[in-house]
């Protein structure tokens, strides 16, 4: 973790929402903002820790982890550049983080003072509406996962997850997983062993290839079938 110079006005990795802010507002944002670099596997913030900031991911991939029953980890999602983390914390009543954020790759992150962010929202309703849109969009994705995780069996759930990586996270049909099988298990709520077994099945069926943690989708149609039938 290493602080680096930054101006929001010139930032080339601004979020879409920020595009509705004028120069004055961007400068205000900058006041309460600090850019930081993380190496792979570092903790950005910890579940239960005191909340001070909203996080904006400029670069890299970050897993959001929440402790569940019996202290077992659950991975809520994998966030990528352009996402805000901890917008939940805009609510002044919330004192502690709801989940931990841990980098999966080397990453660049902006820390934004939450009061600063909140007053920007209050000042600029259009900005607020944009941010709200983002949050709601995420919520829809969570709904989908909520429903599918509960209604489908493991092969369906793993197929969903592979699609999720390809379409929502990495945007390609070949991608480094950046996650161990234990972590994938924590993402769909199963055991590591089951992940190992089903990944093997998918390979034997010619649906995916997997080498050195780089996954390639070979047969999208079959993958879709498994997503459907569960």
């Amino acid at each position: 973790m290493n602080l680096i110079a930054n101006t929001c006005v010139d930032c080339s990795l601004k979020s879409g929402a920020v595009s509705v802010l004028d120069n004055n507002e961007l400068c205000a944002l900058e006041e309460g903002c600090a850019k930081t670099e993380y190496k792979k596997g570092e903790l950005i913030f910890k579940e239960g820790g005191l909340v001070q900031h909203i996080i904006y991911i400029r670069k890299g991939f970050v897993k959001l982890v929440k402790k569940g029953a019996g202290g077992k980890d659950f991975i809520l999602s994998v966030s990528k550049q352009g996402s805000y983390l901890g917008i939940q914390n805009l609510d002044e009543n919330i004192k502690t983080n709801y989940f931990s954020a841990i980098t999966l790759t080397n990453s660049e992150v902006c820390f934004i003072d939450r009061h600063c962010f909140a007053s920007l929202l209050k000042q600029n309703g259009e900005f607020a509406l944009k941010v709200l849109s983002t949050v709601l969009n995420d919520e829809m994705n969570y709904f989908d996962r909520l429903v599918k995780n509960v209604q489908q069996q493991l092969p369906g759930r793993l197929a969903n997850t592979i699609s999720y990586f390809a379409n929502e996270v990495y945007g390609e049909n070949t991608f480094a997983l950046n996650l161990t099988q234990t972590e994938i298990a924590a993402l769909i709520g199963t055991s590591r062993e089951s992940i190992s077994r089903i990944l093997k099945e998918f390979q034997e069926m010619g649906i995916i290839a997997l080498e050195h943690n780089v996954l390639t989708i070979l047969n999208e149609k079959k993958l879709e079938e498994i997503k459907q039938k569960g």
Copy 2:
């Protein structure tokens, strides 16, 4: 469904968020707003149907239902008076409802034109922030359910649901369920038969009493234990 007269300015069942709106803004809201009554079991809006409105529940209980794998229903939550439904639809890109809303009891509901609501948000950032807070709060609840549904076994999940009803929905330790066992099953993603069995077990253990669909929590401590151990 029966239209009744209404003015937002005088409304005694206003939402907390609306309290930051001034009289002019309330009148604008009123322009795009219509109050309606529903009987138990009626459909307010349907998953996949065209979006026109944001819904505000003035009175009653409403289930939010989403079709999952194989057309099986999943109940996302039970909403009560004071909640907005379909805020997701503020995003202009969203054309269709993400879930259905069906009344569980006789209810009163306001339909708010979504463009009207959106322009209020744009005008009044404080209002937007309040609404955002509400949405984020809901999201935290969904996270909890997401994690627990996946990590816990049936007794734990049912215990969670009973607590959820007592604490979040009905606010009392004795309450009419308003749901059949089939619906409870759709809420935690299991079979009706399993619900029947576990409810019986809970009764035998003296944790709850259940008569004519009115549930009473008899032993909160034991219920808490089951929630913990899963």
